[in-house]
Point group: D2
């Protein structure tokens, strides 16, 4: 590639937007060319527009720090400046997000969204590239139905399911069908954004409730595991998932304590383990820049994975699994972990865009 | 009662021993008259013998602070000075603990133990007074078999199951039989004693492993729920329990995320809730000093129970439950919490002794 | 006293307001008869008006939970219902607070304020009862100047100086004059209210800045140490204080690392220690309910005071000091600690009111 | 350089030893060729010898993981395998450490030590390369006096002074002489090694005591600032330092709250700031691999430096300073931060070795 693909970030001043800016620094294919936020931020440099400061690691990349923030409503500027946009909106009004994403798509922009607004729109793929890369095939139908030429919308699922779903799907792919999943998640505070969770709530404490999180954790997988039928997604009916989502005093890294039941015969411990270790998928074959070499890492030590010590595995894009052992009620239990603000947010969105690019869905590149 | 019953504490300088000293200050029935520890501590005042300092709340009660620590081997002194002993041994050698407890019982001392050494001895009751007070009835058989006159051994179960077992048993008592339980515990660091868990392991982290804890959490309930048959305990066969035990950055208070399946028809949410709220048992009827007025407290707020805000409910002796909701795999899920160093350790031991006293098992009082 | 004195709380739904409600439960002299907050809260029961929930220990006292919240502007209702008010306003608009407090005083209400609005009003006493109880003597002048009959305003100082000022003043009273003080405070997150400090800012971190805090810590003592002259306060000129204020991952308890220089000869370690231990003042002599029996507690252990283990000393009203040792630059260094939401907030306000009552400043009781 | 210099690590299995292994992975000049520890560890592979596991970031470098650990007493093996050794001993017996380091030096090994045993030996340089690189000039005298040929000993100072000493020395170098320093340090738990500080001591708490730390913080700088006279070091007499050292719930990163008094006229804020920003020293001029490009980074934001966000600056080798402001007792106050296990431990030792190599003190390379 001679020249990098210019990309935009919508909601660039929020915490997820900052993660996009951070992770796209030195990206081999993409470069940030457009940052947009609310009218209040518009007109300021990116650096000055960060009212709560820079929340992510390191410093603001210099070129973005001095970029002028645009009003998200000035779509025509985005069209001139960039080839695709990442939607990192964090505002509570989902209807507004939905509309913005559609407007950008209508104007010709491929939109890769981190927001939940379009996750259940039935012609919008909800993508984890290692799991359902083939869902991108719905894009032509999406464009046709909506009269969009080059634009489209792709979303990523919630961070809470990133740790446990890949290990389950790897087993399904390996021929070991799972019928029931009980999962308790121990989630990091960064999942709530900034300022997010009050320190008085997590010092020496656990909060047993995250609004809306258990529903997302249970429902989103059945779309991801579904198939395309007549231009829309049909949910997968073959799995039951129940989730309890807890907030723990950890900055980054969502952990999941999982119990699974197989539909038919259960594999041996060694079969499960080797299925995970050998799991590779399209992002690995395509050598996408953000694809971890090994999507599922298994640690044999009895006390792993741990958020602090394993969240950065695979540059924050790998799932780390451990403690595989028999379950006296179901078949097996294990613990899985992923980085909620990398794989579970901006990193996941970037991987989606890489996949779409490599598979030829970006028409104007 | 005119005069308080003199009691002893074995392993008095450890963290559980300190909790006994703390909780027995101003006890209406009992007063500490004997503190014993290893030969190294013997001969020093209690205050000076605490090599890691006083780890529990407030100050060392003055009368105990100046008491001379005895060698645990000098059983004859205990016999002279006190009527019953609490065993708070924390040494790794379970055989040694087992032997000491038997020696004290043989010498005529009722022993109320916090240690795990005798939990699976088949004529030793493992007691949670609200659940299986009737198991004390094995004492005559225990004494007869072993040739003990007035002494006997009673143990309490592990702290990790104190939060979830009472709510389950309350439902069983209410006629709602539970067949399967999947539980993930989020346990406080005080459960590992002092110095216990390294701070580098819990700052910004969760440790997904506590040696031996999951086994105890799964196995001990089936003895507690069992019955006496021919002078020994027969385990309960009607329930399957699977546990995942996590260590979280919380000082005190074990939380359990529980999913339950009923054997037959499931009760309504309101039936479950009212069964819990109305649950009372023998300790409440006998008005034992350490019995919480309401053994199971239900909180309706969506984000409770929390360790920091609920562990002290009922002076640390109540179980607090919340978040009762349907489960898409089993029938219901809920979150339960109890104070691991009060109800789950010394407080539980004291309640056992109160029960035994009130029910007439202390022959020399 | 046959009947308790009815008191009101302004800004009752905030975190400081909740602390007042909590600490006044079972107060021997006062009882809450009036709770007021912003117009949005008015008309709801106190329980329902707490939009962030009950943040302090235990449960909402039942009688207050069901009390209807009044609009703070309806002063005439306060006049009918209560004899004095505590001002616990937390709104950013200091002018509005100043005006409200004056309106209540004008209407005949003694106002005991936790807010900073009137701290530097030159006829308003800023009180720590153990230090400057005699400053209450300005009240007649304050009333005369403003044309108030029975009402007046008394404030308490910032929480950050409560830990170090009493030990310094005790030495001054003992004849050991201090000329220079360098203090670094390690402050708990509860000092910022709720939601206050973001958890992402304090997990595995320290924040070296608290807006406005260092100024308050340096300036307020010179008024407290000052004297009344011609109906206003003249600042004390004899002491230089420099402060660095840090926010640490602690829920409650402000710690201060103090270095002091004496103006003339320095006392011995033993003289300093015994001066502190023997320090008593008017609140102790008057046996005020919230006065700690021993206002300054000295701990000899090398690793005390600690926030978690010492903040509740004297029911949260005592200052705990330790680590007194020579300083190679000044004369001595030591570490001091006080509970920032008890002594440093509501508890301090209550003690002020107790003092004013006992000394006869409440005319209509 | 064609071939890397083979280096050894003494006490390689401890936490500091692990840091050396970690930081030396991919070092451009050095490669680990010898790992030694106590007789109990000897004979096992490095990976198996880590009884508390791998405590530092990432994974054990593969080549070292499979290396066989030698007994530290088998010095002749070190002589065969490597050119210099890093001493990372953490055992409490300082005499033993002192003897080992001397034995290795006597056998011809340059020893770069992290231990405190030889810090006050009067012919051993205690080095911070940016501050006193010229102290290496004592090596010939050290060798001559002790009859050593090629071996010698160089130590690094304690981690607690790394954050505040460079900013002070930079000012001295700039012509602004400082006479008095009062410093309060807020130190991370990793400074105590593993398991080190108990989690019960730091959850929701601060410990106001670290044994021996304040003495080191006050005394070591006067040797570092001293000069060589007649083959031994003469301490610097021109500065008074007083330290209070606190342990806070932070994993890595020591923070220092500093107040300084100038001997003569004080510089302006801008002069101080620019002196820091422009400070460069020999390690920068020599382009040593571990030398941070900018040894002192100044952050203008009001709430920086912070341990979590600034400890990794300059790959953990830079000091970050902020909050420079006037002090009402001395002249200025500021906050400084450095990474205690990188700059303050293994990274500092590596930089010392790089300096000695580049300046020609390694005779057999």
């Amino acid at each position: 590639m001679n020249k990098k693909i210019p990309v935009g970030i919508l909601g660039a001043t929020g915490m997820v937007g900052q993660q996009y800016v951070h992770l796209l620094e030195d990206h081999p294919w993409f470069e940030v060319a457009y940052v947009a936020a609310s009218p209040q931020s518009a007109g300021h440099t990116y650096k000055d527009a960060l009212k709560n400061g820079w929340q992510v690691h390191g410093d603001i990349p210099k070129n973005v720090g001095s970029m002028v923030v645009e009003d998200v409503a000035s779509i025509e500027k985005a069209v001139k400046k960039c080839t695709l946009v990442f939607s990192a909106f964090e505002m509570p009004d989902k209807d507004a997000i939905r509309t913005y994403e559609e407007e950008y798509a209508k104007a010709g922009m491929p939109v890769f969204s981190n927001a939940s607004a379009h996750r259940h729109t039935n012609d919008v793929p909800m993508l984890i590239p290692e799991i359902n890369a083939h869902h991108l095939a719905i894009i032509p139908a999406q464009q046709k139905k909506r009269g969009w030429k080059k634009g489209f919308i792709v979303v990523k699922p919630n961070c809470s399911l990133q740790s446990y779903l890949a290990p389950i799907v790897a087993l399904q792919h390996g021929g070991y069908e799972i019928s029931d999943v009980l999962v308790t998640t121990l989630q990091a505070v960064s999942g709530a954004g900034y300022p997010g969770v009050a320190s008085l709530d997590v010092i020496d404490n656990v909060i047993p409730f995250i609004p809306g999180e258990e529903e997302k954790t249970e429902v989103e997988p059945i779309k991801i595991l579904g198939h395309i039928k007549g231009g829309t997604f049909a949910n997968f009916k073959g799995i039951n998932i129940s989730a309890q989502c807890m907030r723990v005093p950890v900055s980054d890294g969502h952990m999941a304590c999982v119990s699974v039941k197989f539909r038919r015969q259960r594999p041996t411990i060694e079969q499960v383990r080797s299925t995970w270790i050998n799991f590779k998928s399209e992002p690995q074959e395509l050598k996408l820049p953000f694809a971890p070499e090994q999507p599922i890492i298994y640690r044999d030590e009895p006390n792993r994975p741990q958020p602090k010590r394993d969240r950065d595995n695979g540059k924050g894009m790998a799932v780390t699994v451990g403690r595989l052992r028999p379950c006296s009620v179901f078949d097996y239990k294990f613990v899985a972990l992923s980085h909620n603000t990398v794989r579970g947010a901006a990193g996941g969105g970037i991987l989606n865009a890489e996949l779409a690019y490599k598979k030829g869905y970006l028409q104007n590149v």
